[in-house]
Symmetry: C2
Subunit: 205 residues, 2 copies
Amino acid sequence: MTPTDDIQPAVSDARERLLAAALEQFSRRGYAASSVREICQSAAVTKPVLYYYFRSKEGLYLQLMEESYDQFETTLAELHSFSGTVRQRVIHFCQGVFDASIQQLPLVKLFYSIYYGAPQGAPAFDLERYYDRMLQVLSDLMQAGIERGELRPGNVADMVWATLACLSIAIEEQLCHCTPRIGRLAMCRMLELVFDGMALNPPSL
Amino acid sequence: MTPTDDIQPAVSDARERLLAAALEQFSRRGYAASSVREICQSAAVTKPVLYYYFRSKEGLYLQLMEESYDQFETTLAELHSFSGTVRQRVIHFCQGVFDASIQQLPLVKLFYSIYYGAPQGAPAFDLERYYDRMLQVLSDLMQAGIERGELRPGNVADMVWATLACLSIAIEEQLCHCTPRIGRLAMCRMLELVFDGMALNPPSL
């Protein structure tokens, strides 16, 4: 350990701490109410360090959003490699997105606050990308399910949205102001119900 | 028409205009960014009129929330009188809540911004009440569906949440920043899929 280690943290470490501090502040207090001063204080770096890596609060926010989206794409790619029936693959996909959301709850909270909240002057970032990608993945899977004779031929978009609805409400329950009333297992059971309704072979009674 | 009609609007009218102006401002700009001055300007009343009816911005907000909830209860009572199979009744219920949401979109937008948005200092109002009531209505209906032999015996909560998920995502699409991708009809088709999965008699192919 060199004497400078105490004074100057590794650069990459400072950068990561700034991203983590920004996420925590944006998520808890909102974008507008978070100041560069407080983010730096929380990350234990000086303002020039923030300006060096991100130029501004806007730059820090956009970098956080971009890296989060890249992380999401990585998660999707991992989930894509799973094999099985379409039912199993869709449920595995939803579980994976649910798990990733739980692991990144402050980030999901930030997305919802930006998407639904009052305007806060945050720079534009296309949050629809997340939904668009999930719709695409699920659409491909449902189409394959029909082609393989696993699902009844029908409106693919309806199947996709009914599935996404279960995933979406399960994630939203994790953001609720009370104790979440549905979790991972309940979501899977809801998805099983939806698949029973879409299956070519009806569920055995 | 008396000469005073031009100068002094009917009191009840001024009150209604204040509520409408407040909803518009809160919904578009957020609670914190809406000022008493602008609300009064938009409602074409003087500040003392606002203070007379609502005491403060907080009072105006709470009154808006309370009256909206009362309206919601009235809608639920109307929907409750519908008769038919449980499937028909649930779909009728979801259509009714969906229609009411479309008619009151700025209000729904305000709920979402308060619920998910960054803290804005708005006085506490229990928005969970809306969900709790819908959960209760749907739960009673599903229970009746099982008892009548219309639905397969199973986890009532799962059935309720799968149904509420379709309603919820359909309403959220109306709040999206793009063109809504699902509407009333698509929601009904999604609900039909869910009911196919819950039915005692599987759908005919």
